[in-house]
Symmetry: C2
Subunit: 442 residues, 2 copies
């Protein structure tokens, strides 16, 4: 077959070429939070002191009661149902009813290997446009890109506490040619990357708009139980027929590495939930069995879990306040957080100074900060902010969570922590803040 041979001569050697890559995936690199984590490890290995404020991982251990359940179920080896272990789906439904006062039933719950996987499956299955208020979590936009979904960003501002306002959402829709296009609005509160949350009045107004325009709301409430006052309010209370609640073990239970996430659907969303389960059955199949058995304990809650949560919240609130104060004193704009363990820093008041040092975008800002001070944080650009805006996210998690927990346990519940608790038990966090403040002013 001479034609084939001739063709062959002009072909680049296949084994090394990238021409057979899906175009949606080219240029996607590993998620920036994971990348900065691995880079920080390398710097540490080379002997440099690194303040790892990049990766958003809970510093606290998994509660003993939950670890013990995992040991107890270590022999479980059967494939569990695609939608999840029945007892766990029931526990998660109970969790949402108790904690969020939303009427979720077990049959409307899915268990997956992390809520991130579910967000991806949702975007894959739902043929709609994705609306992202920014700053937003690093993975929403790359996920949509991989699948080939259209994204619309709505930029919020420091002045509105980095929250989407009902007016902004109305204005956005009014300017659209097709107001009724299938849309998925992604809200995340308490928020990664800024620790802020919504006031209830705004949730009600956003719910009203979503109802009117028949948008699906993906309400990412993975930090709900880390609201410092324990007063998290879900938008599902005001838009139960159109809100999917995303949650999981990773943040409030300190079990990020265990990989277990949950989605709770409106009762009439079987068409969407079952399609996600069908794709799940052709991909990850089910979540690791021993992990699911252990998670039942976590979602059922009880005294020991509540006590754990109380300490975790108290410590995080204390550190959030202290960190905010240090940064504000350094002229960096940042709001004190309502929950979670993030701060979103706005260096724009220092723009003139920074520009003289060659810093004109958030990526350069974070790179120089890491090289000059050893403090690793993530550029605002990774959270879909304009590249030239000098913003960045930090996670104040670089402390020994087990030790801090033990110290908090010695202080009666309900009391505030002593003023010097952070300096005493989480000194690296506050050193890092001071380094950032000093660096911004040199």
């Amino acid at each position: 077959m001479p034609i084939i041979r001739q063709y062959d001569q002009y072909r680049p050697e296949m084994k090394n070429n990238r021409h057979s890559l899906n175009l949606n995936i080219r240029g996607i690199s590993e998620s920036p939070t994971l990348t900065i984590n691995e880079l920080s490890k390398k710097l540490q290995k080379s002997g440099k002191t690194v303040y790892r404020l990049g990766l958003g991982q809970s510093p606290f251990p998994v509660p003993d009661a939950v670890v013990n359940e995992l040991k107890h179920h270590a022999h479980e080896k059967d494939y569990l149902p695609v939608k999840g272990l029945d007892a766990l789906r029931q526990a998660v439904a109970y969790f949402h009813r108790e904690k969020d006062q939303v009427d979720i039933k077990a049959k409307n719950v899915l268990i997956g290997p992390g809520s991130k996987e579910f967000l991806f499956l949702l975007m894959l299955v739902y043929y709609g446009e994705v609306l992202l208020p920014t700053p937003c979590w690093v993975s929403y936009a790359p996920q949509a890109k991989i699948i080939g979904r259209n994204i619309k960003l709505i930029h919020t501002s420091f002045e509105t506490n980095w929250r989407l306002t009902p007016q902004q959402l109305s204005d956005f829709l009014a300017a659209e040619k097709d107001q009724y296009k299938p849309r998925l609005l992604v809200l995340n509160y308490p928020s990664n990357p800024d620790g802020g949350t919504y006031v209830t009045e705004d949730l009600k107004k956003i719910a009203r708009i979503a109802r009117k325009y028949e948008m699906i709301i993906l309400s990412d409430e993975i930090y709900g139980q880390l609201h410092f006052k324990g007063e998290h309010v879900s938008i599902a209370r005001f838009y139960p027929e159109g809100t999917i609640i995303s949650s999981g073990l990773s943040k409030w239970c300190g079990a990020g590495g265990w990989r277990l996430g949950t989605f709770a659907f409106p009762a009439k969303f079987d068409w969407l939930m079952n399609s996600m389960a069908a794709v799940a059955s052709e991909t990850y199949t089910s979540v690791s069995a021993p992990i699911q058995y252990a998670a039942v304990k976590a979602f059922r809650g009880g005294t020991s879990i509540e006590r754990y949560l109380m300490h975790v919240r108290r410590i995080l609130e204390h550190l959030g306040e202290k960190s905010t104060r240090i940064l504000n004193l350094g002229g960096i704009r940042v709001h004190p957080p309502d929950g979670a363990f993030y701060l979103f820093l706005d260096f724009n008041s220092r723009a003139a100074k920074l520009q003289k040092r060659g810093i004109q975008d958030s990526s350069t800002l974070c790179e120089k900060l890491l090289l000059e001070t050893g403090v690793a944080i993530l550029p605002g650009e990774a959270f879909q902010r304009p590249a030239e805006e000098l913003t960045a996210r930090l996670a104040f998690v670089n402390f020994d969570g087990a030790k801090a927990l033990a110290m908090s346990e010695a202080i009666p519940p309900g009391e505030a922590l002593p003023k010097n608790f952070g300096e005493k038990h989480c000194p690296e966090v506050l050193h890092a803040m001071q380094k950032i403040a000093d660096w911004a002013n040199t």
Copy 2:
């Protein structure tokens, strides 16, 4: 805005409609193996005796040494690297070097939540046509459909032991207009659904063709360690530069529900492996940490794991032979298996009789068999065979694996099991075979 209101009147109520589903996903239901499993459970609950030969799950417990490692690492909570725990990647590379004599390095290994997830990611990332010799595993084709990849089936036959012959592959390519189209050839051996494997000479010839036409081979060797003689040969030995080896804990280690799979790539496939890792970092993130730590033990192997494997193989070989004999006596064509725990049954010699009973396709065959005898097996159609062909897969796994293992342990290694071992310790398996044989002849 009167225009919007008018539009609204003609719109169906969104919450219940399926118009916003990705078209690739409509009509995909839960994987048939999982569906039959859940249906069988229901029949059992209603009091019927069900012989569950549908789901391909190992009946054996996870080796104690591996379960103990999971207990020992139950507290591990950190997010592990996307590509996997370093120690585990090393153990998997060592496993392939030792067992398969293929030069795999740790840096070319990925760890994921099941090899099924990896197959999906591979098809998502690689923009090529998927070649499937049939009968093939149930999930390959639906995965390609979800992603929107083109599939080409190559039907093999009972006469060639359900194996793709080198000649068939050559003929297929000769008939194609573009021989050099990017292609992914999926081979699975020992095979699900038929327990057969390739002779080495054919692997060499297929390797030669794949090299010539620059095809990627996805060599699904998840049952490699369940070759009854321990003589599994990987095609990667003959086509190392273009073969990805898929493996995992699910089958040989009895840990299907744990969800851990592995891919081992050719050294120059960084472009593909890194793209898969990038998508992984935006989806499942990493495999559950405690499970990864425990898996190190399994892949490192050692005396106790080898002993476990010896017993598992001996029991499965015994049952495979006995089952084949009963079915053959009943006039059902089936080959004795080389490995794994499947038989692919050909009822076509009974076609005239079956047709009189209203059975003209494999789905009706399996449905009637289940209803009339309580034996649950899967239709050939689910394995991409023509619907009207009277074939079906069974998994001879409906016995107490822990008990059978204990009984085998009392018999010296190297010896054959007593002739009545199956009747004594796995009677349900042989009852089911007799029921199938009798049913086909009524």
